[in-house]
Symmetry: C2
Subunit: 159 residues, 2 copies
Amino acid sequence: MPGRWGKGPARWWHGEFRGCGYRITIPRQIILQVLDESKEHLSAEDIYLRVHNIYPAIGLTTVYRTLDLLVNMGLIFKFDFGDGRARYELSRGPKEPSHHHHLICINCGRIIDYTDFVDEELELLKKTEKELSKKYNFEIKNHTIQFYGLCDKCSTSKE
Amino acid sequence: MPGRWGKGPARWWHGEFRGCGYRITIPRQIILQVLDESKEHLSAEDIYLRVHNIYPAIGLTTVYRTLDLLVNMGLIFKFDFGDGRARYELSRGPKEPSHHHHLICINCGRIIDYTDFVDEELELLKKTEKELSKKYNFEIKNHTIQFYGLCDKCSTSKE
DNA sequence: AAATTTAATGAAAATGATTATCATTATAAA
DNA sequence: TTTATAATGATAATCATTTTCATTAAATTT
């Protein structure tokens, strides 16, 4: 359903901001826009550089602060792929939510998204979550599943 | 089978070291000893402090270097629980290998190990690994599964 | 057992991602 | 428009981890 949110930068998140009492500012709009336009796993600096192209007055501090806010609001996910910098991506949004996990190449750092087996996985995960919640009295909010290994290029170049 | 590896610090890893051409040094022995004696998820500094009690000449650099070596050898696992410092724990050893995962409290940082559902999980994981390897030509070496949420204390104190 | 080779060590400095400080600016409400 | 204050951005600070390099000590050879 394209155009559902009007032209220009997506505004689907304005309601959430208003509801939380947060102000809608230019830096925040552009940071969301950049996240929305990218399907990659951007680091804070990646995001900073892209926002900077559109709005050169942006400060790196604001990027970090905004990302932190968005993580806390649940609008984006923060990942750690072990390369010393965090990565961010939209959790849901105007597009359909896409539950996926990652294959991470320990040699070149390439990240492959996959959505295979998500259904079966989700089923097991749900069951596990329920049981663990009960047993440990632990209120599960989120989970991560990641596979580490060698991508095709790095795998063949090592033989 | 206690005593299988002789008295004093465990020596089950000496063979692996020799095989790789690595020297068996005092710092390395004590770092392994500390890891072996602890069931917790120690940070580099935790390990440094414990080793320091036994062998005050130890340097933090050596701890980092040794941990890196051990990770590459596959003797220990390195985890990131999102608190800005890496954690390490023995992957296998004289004790039976224990495949487990973690519940991480996003409020107080407490980490709970669990081994429940590991069998079912492992089954799905194996299947997933096989299929993903084929589909993406990705050679999987390792995986992490982590649940984030609120532990019992933090959960109740927030209501 | 002493000499030799060189991997391993440790002190200190460097790095690099992230966070804190604080004066200034701009959003949203009156 | 005025006002209150949340948000911003430049700068400095933090802090885990790495790098550098002169020194030390395993392991091998004599």
